[in-house]
């Protein structure tokens, strides 16, 4: 007698503690091994691109906060850069430095969440996550101090930033810069050589260079595969050409490499913040921009390196007070396209380790 077997279809999500938002994976299983995967998304679709067509250029900034909600500053930054490029607005020096400091702090805060969540998925249930949240809290405190809110900052404006730094900001930033390297060392001590982490992530979910490039993967996932591509270097925006920093890369392209790249990048971000803090001039933080910006007819694309990868804003203007069309190149959505290839062939327990190492935010995937 032979047993009749058939592939088992499992729905993971849409509400699953590990999917970081509402995301569903239709997984076809053969025993414990994944033979096929189909991502189903759109549960968090809010029509941000369409909503933006009815708003003024200034009024879109709060919407961009809600794209990648764990890195709202970076989204603000990308959007205002593209409007400034389209309208030809120059930003004061001090504002540029403030923006860079904010973007790099946001990068650290976002990586802390991702590393914590990734370790959660590896089985270190919530212990490292809470350590990382403690450090993130310090950054959130700084953001709250300058912008007044803890998650949706709405801090950058077309032509600068909304307000100058309060006087207590720089001393607190110095303290943070002194403490953070110690914290990163502590994480390394906690996890770098942990055998369980190594066994769960080394050699798991290998993203080859070719697949990564063919799939337009950007951000730490690409650098983990050994491609030295960082928009801050490759196409410097704002004032990134003034700073010295390295681009850490991995070699194998597995989950562990992606995790290490993020840890190293936190150190590089600290370096950039230190340099920016020393070079920061005094002066105004906002140029006079008309209340309703009306860029000339044309189109533009500006892209920045966010914690997830390349975030681009494509704007088309018809000289009215709101954009004719806005398209957002969301790094999470494009990184998602290689997920299927990474997951096939691995066991179901590895599925979320791989998913967590790619780092997706659903707010950005669905928009």
């Amino acid at each position: 007698m032979t047993l009749k077997t058939e592939p088992f279809v499992l729905n993971m999500g849409p509400v699953h503690p590990s999917t970081h938002g509402v995301f569903r994976m239709r997984v076809v299983l053969d025993g414990e091994v994944v033979t096929d995967m189909e991502p189903v998304f759109g549960y968090l679709h809010r029509g941000i691109e369409k909503l933006a067509e009815e708003r003024t250029y200034g009024g879109i900034i709060p919407l961009t906060d809600r794209l990648d909600y764990i890195a709202a500053m970076s989204n603000n930054f990308g959007y205002v850069l593209s409007v400034e490029k389209l309208a030809g607005i120059k930003v004061p020096e001090r504002a540029e430095y403030i923006r860079v400091i904010m973007a790099e702090l946001q990068r650290i805060a976002s990586y802390l969440i991702i590393i914590g969540a990734f370790l959660n998925e590896c089985g270190a249930y919530f212990t490292p996550f809470v350590y990382m949240f403690r450090e993130r809290e310090k950054i959130i405190d700084l953001f709250e101090m300058v912008s007044g809110q803890r998650l949706t900052y709405n801090y950058m404006r077309v032509g600068g930033v909304s307000q100058d730094l309060p006087e207590e900001f720089l001393p607190a930033l110095d303290k943070f810069l002194a403490q953070m390297p110690v914290c990163i060392d502590e994480y390394d001590r906690l996890l770098k050589e942990n055998e369980i982490l190594l066994a769960r992530s080394k050699g798991v979910g290998i993203l080859s260079k070719e697949t990564a490039i063919n799939g337009s993967v950007t951000g730490p996932a690409l650098r983990g595969s050994g491609v030295k591509w960082d928009i801050r270097r490759a196409d410097p925006y704002s004032i990134y050409d003034r700073f010295e920093f390295d681009i850490p890369t991995g070699s194998a392209g597995d989950c562990y490499d992606r995790y290490r790249v993020r840890v190293e990048e936190m150190r590089q971000s600290l370096r950039i913040i230190k340099q920016a803090r020393e070079q920061m001039p005094a002066g105004p933080v906002r140029t006079k921009v008309p209340h309703l910006v009306r860029p000339p007819v044309g189109e533009t694309y500006a892209h920045i390196e966010t914690p997830k990868g390349e975030l681009g804003f494509y704007l088309v203007s018809d000289t009215s007070i709101s954009p004719y069309r806005i398209h957002i190149r969301a790094p999470s959505l494009i990184n998602l396209t290689v997920l299927r290839e990474l997951i096939i062939g691995w066991k179901i327990a590895d599925l979320f380790v791989i998913f967590g190492s790619i780092d997706l935010t659903m707010g950005e995937v669905d928009r």
């Binding site: 708003r55 709060p62 310090k138 101090m145 007044g148 809110q149 909304s162 307000q163 309060p166 403490q179």
Partner: protein, 189 residues
């Protein structure tokens, strides 16, 4: 996978965890113990000054959510506009602060409260009587008003509550220390 000296990484990690066991807690017991919020907090309400407002409606035009509703009538005696109705639907408002920024007469402020849960939707609508600055009930925040910000208490920062001493790398010393203390006490006895 093969590991040389298996268990070393875990032991190293445990040393960090054990050190945290000896640290002071960094969490606060929220409803009883409250930390000071940012001086620029954008709370869940708007505060409006009756005296300064001229009824220009710049705020209502700026609001991309359409949360502000304003009605005025001309006052022929002093050639000004009377504000008949000033209403903010905080259910629509996303507390972005753009209207506060836009007000040319410094008549609009963000509030400082953050516990604004209500039982009904219509309770979320703020009438002008509820949000009047002159009533003196509500504390305006320092968002865009540095003078008001200076009057508010300083923000509690986690970074200042954790001292440098606590951040030092973990060492496995505490055990030996307690031992020596105990032995010293025993010797005294």
């Amino acid at each position: 996978m093969k590991f040389e000296n298996y268990g070393r990484g875990i032991a190293k990690g445990m040393s960090v965890t054990i050190k945290h066991l000896l640290r002071h807690p960094t969490v606060s017991q929220y409803p009883e113990q409250r930390l000071n919020t940012s001086r620029r907090i954008r709370g869940n309400e708007l505060i409006w000054s009756k005296e300064k407002c001229t009824g220009c409606a710049t705020c209502a035009k700026t609001c991309h959510e359409g949360a502000i509703e304003i009605e005025t009538s001309p006052n022929l005696v002093n050639n000004k506009y009377e504000v008949e109705k000033y209403q903010v639907d905080t259910g629509y408002c996303i507390m972005c602060g753009l209207c506060v920024e836009a007000c040319p007469f410094e008549a609009l402020f963000m509030g400082t409260t953050y516990e604004a849960a209500k039982y009904r939707r219509d309770e979320l609508v703020q009438e002008k009587e509820d949000m009047m600055l002159e009533a003196g009930v509500k504390q305006p925040s320092g968002y865009f008003y540095p003078d008001y910000a200076a009057a508010l208490p300083r923000q509690t920062l986690l970074i200042e509550r954790i001292t440098e001493e606590q951040m030092k790398p973990a060492k496995m010393e505490p055990k030996t220390e307690t031992k020596t203390e105990k032995t010293a006490e025993a010797e005294k006895k």
